[in-house]
């Protein structure tokens, strides 16, 4: 049957993409290992401030161009004293492999959808595969945009690692044959709801990775020392801003996903909100990320404390995806596991 051939093709593509992702991960790890020792401590805001003060004397007006000190605009490209050609080369190979793995991964998801004749996110295996694809997609899109506001080049290992982990979990524990859906899942609103949730989770995953990097970098900057590869990362302040942008971008998408889910639930069961465990945890995730956004506007909560709330938010998201889907009883039992 054509459906079965396609499903088999999808599986083969998925395994191939995992092999290529593994190669990319190896390259990113090597890139970090080849990084030279940290040369100098970063300019801290105090230094920038005195810089700004210098500009006050009118004579300075005609002085040479003055731009940001901490690389907050563009992450100072790791050249010259900051990096070696070897690290750069192997890093670029990593990016190339990621693009290849992405193509195979995308093929796997498309073939799966064609084999079942529906959107390929109807059970947990498919949700995980598509979610991992969303993570890579967001990463590559940001990489291609080269927008200094969304620095992600340094994130390779933190993107490919979780992607590979998710795919590994998908093909071993979560695998289900390509089939049609149970009637409750046949709804456009479900497709919209899950698509939005997958996109939001891809972005949140990158925001999570950036938040971790921020916390590490912040600690190192305070100490003024650290492992060599961290010198290739943007400054803590830039990481913090980037993580905020990621979360601020994902939050409305998550909000929309929750609303679309409520519309679907109303169509399927006659109530738009029933505090089913899955719904409850989607709500908890939403509230925790709202806390994060609030914290960033509350004195005494910016910086590290807000970052911890973002980590907690990601924790609640993971809990919903792993624990609630598999272990808690509810109406959304579409995991298809076991």
């Amino acid at each position: 049957m054509a459906g079965e051939t396609l499903a088999q093709l999808s599986n083969n593509l998925l395994y191939s993409s995992m092999a290529v992702y593994a190669g990319a991960m190896y390259c990113y790890a090597a890139e970090m290992a080849f990084a030279p020792r940290r040369q100098q401590t970063r300019a801290v805001p105090v230094a920038e401030r005195s810089m700004a003060t210098v500009a006050r004397t009118p004579t300075a007006y005609d002085a040479a161009p003055r731009t940001a000190v901490d690389g907050g605009r563009a992450p100072a490209p790791p050249t010259g004293t900051h990096g070696t050609a070897r690290a750069d080369r192997v890093g670029r190979v990593g990016v190339a492999l990621t693009v290849l793995a992405f193509a195979l991964h995308l093929g796997a998801v498309v073939a799966r959808g064609l084999s079942a004749g529906r959107a390929p996110w109807g059970n947990m295996f498919e949700f995980s595969t598509a979610g991992a694809l969303a993570v890579t997609t967001v990463f590559l899109v940001l990489l291609a945009r080269r927008d200094p506001r969304y620095p992600v080049r340094y994130l390779g290992l933190f993107v490919v690692g979780p992607v590979l982990l998710t795919l590994g979990l998908a093909v071993t524990v979560l695998y289900t044959d390509s089939e049609q859906l149970v009637p409750a899942l046949k709804s456009v609103w479900l497709v919209i709801h899950v698509t939005a949730a997958i996109i939001a989770s891809g972005i949140l995953t990158l925001g999570f990775a950036q938040t971790i990097c921020y916390l590490v970098q912040d600690r190192l900057e305070r100490r003024g020392d650290g492992p060599a590869f961290m010198a290739r990362f943007p400054s803590a302040a830039a990481l913090d801003r980037a993580a905020y942008r990621m979360h601020a971008f994902a939050f409305p998408i998550w909000t929309f996903a929750v609303i679309a889910g409520a519309i679907w639930a109303e169509n399927a069961w006659g109530r738009y909100w029933g505090w089913d465990p899955k719904e409850t945890w989607a709500f908890i995730t939403w509230v925790v990320y709202a806390c994060y956004l609030h914290a960033r506007a509350t004195a005494g909560w910016r910086g590290r404390k807000a970052a911890y709330i973002a980590l907690l938010g990601y924790g609640t998201f993971l809990f919903n995806y792993l624990v609630v889907n598999i272990f808690l009883v509810g109406l959304h039992s579409y995991a298809g596991v076991g």
Partner: protein, 541 residues
Amino acid sequence: MTDAATERLTSAPQAESEPPGPPSAMRPAELVRWAWRQLTSMRTALALLFLLAMASVPGSLVPQSGIDPVRVAQFKAAHPGLAPWYERLSLFSVFSAPWFAAIYLLLFVSLAGCVLPRSKAHWRAMRAAPPRPPRNLERLPVHVGWRAGRDPASVLDEAARELRSRHYRVVRHEDAVSAEKGYLRETGNLLFHTALIGLLVAVAVGNLYGYKGSVLVVEKAGFSNTLAAYDSFSHGAGFDEDKLAPFTVELDRLRVRYQATGDQRGAPRDFRATLSYQSAPTAATRRYALRVNHPLVLDGTKVFLIGNGYAPIFTVRDSTGEQVFSGPVPFLPQDGNNTSVGVVKVEGATPEQLGFQGFFLPTGTIDARGPISTYPDLLLPTAVLTAFRGDLGTGSGVPQSIYKLDTRAMTQFTGPTGKPLAGALRPGQEMVLPDRQGSIRFDGVRRYATLQVAHDPGKSPALLAAACALLGLMLSLFVKRRRVWVRATAAGGGRSLVEVAALARVEGEDRDGLHDEVTGVVSSLGHEGAGPTTSTIGEED
């Protein structure tokens, strides 16, 4: 930054540094004002949001009686010591618990107390002119200065034109230009928070005036939308029985399809109930193919297909040979393969009442576990029954389950060996009771559908509120609120000293955008040399 012009570009409540403790000797009015300030502070909002998230957690871990009463009962039986404590703490009904309500009501009071003053401030800000430039423009997060070869007035005119084309609201002063844009950010934020209040109100209205009932309908039977027709029914305090939409529904046929092969064999694939309905007693009869996710809408009331099962048809004769019962009897599915249990109660039998209990198996086998179905559809329909005689207890006035036999006043029929009499019947087969007490024949099977009827007048307002919240949220996150100042002073010889500086709402977050904006303005003024200085002032507290 102390300059009035450079205060945060938000009308969020200030006084965010260390909150002062309550003044030691306070008059009641002061105490109230102090408490109100605390409640509506950003810190309190943060704490209450946290509490809300935490309070929801037990609702997902402990079975909830509003969602799954059967699991609540199981939990209570399994944890007799713990259950009363859970009961006392409302842990079986977290989302209607008083402490849960306390959290969200406080949150919404805080929200209202926050939104009102901010709306007022925003209203004023929207009608006010952008403030005059601060004295020291160099102290702003983004700043650039240079000597221009033109006189100040022409530089400022050019700057005002440029900023207007960038959609700024612009004020031209003697020696400077003030500009501001992005008022929609705060508008969006207020819309978002107000919409959350609207959402809460809509949910409350739905709970108050809505109702929900479920009814089991066998093929070729129907029901009318009256309280008496429902198997279970719940409604809010403001519900009025007379306002029930006067429709009737009949189930002509229920078709089902299951996965036949693969690792998901037996999984449901399609349910389709063909209904004939009348929206009012005098209305024309129409047909509708009811499916999961495709409810029938009648006058704002919706009919959903939420379950299905089998109703085997039995004919019972008593000791006189008289037919005392004939018809379909709904059995309750117990597992994914529709192994179903049920009973037949025959009150009119003589000399004693008869009762039968057992299983209906759409695809029957009997293995070590007992009678069990191996596939959910009707491949080998089998009814496995045991029989009782005596008093059914239905006359006692105590309501009984139609799925359970009260055998306390009954004796079980036994076979020749003294073991309980049991029969596994295929359609058309009959089980004869000993001592000429009668017989039961399994005639065939009909399907039944479980329909849910729901009316929620808060639904559309809730959707509207949610949509407003989403719109407001996007405005509040993506619109950039910015102020730009341009100052030009004469530097002699028709030249001028020009400074451009900018400020964003939260400086750190919009820093790169701000930098680009200033670069754009500066180059439109004909300056290509030094780029703006970006500092992180204002980023730390």
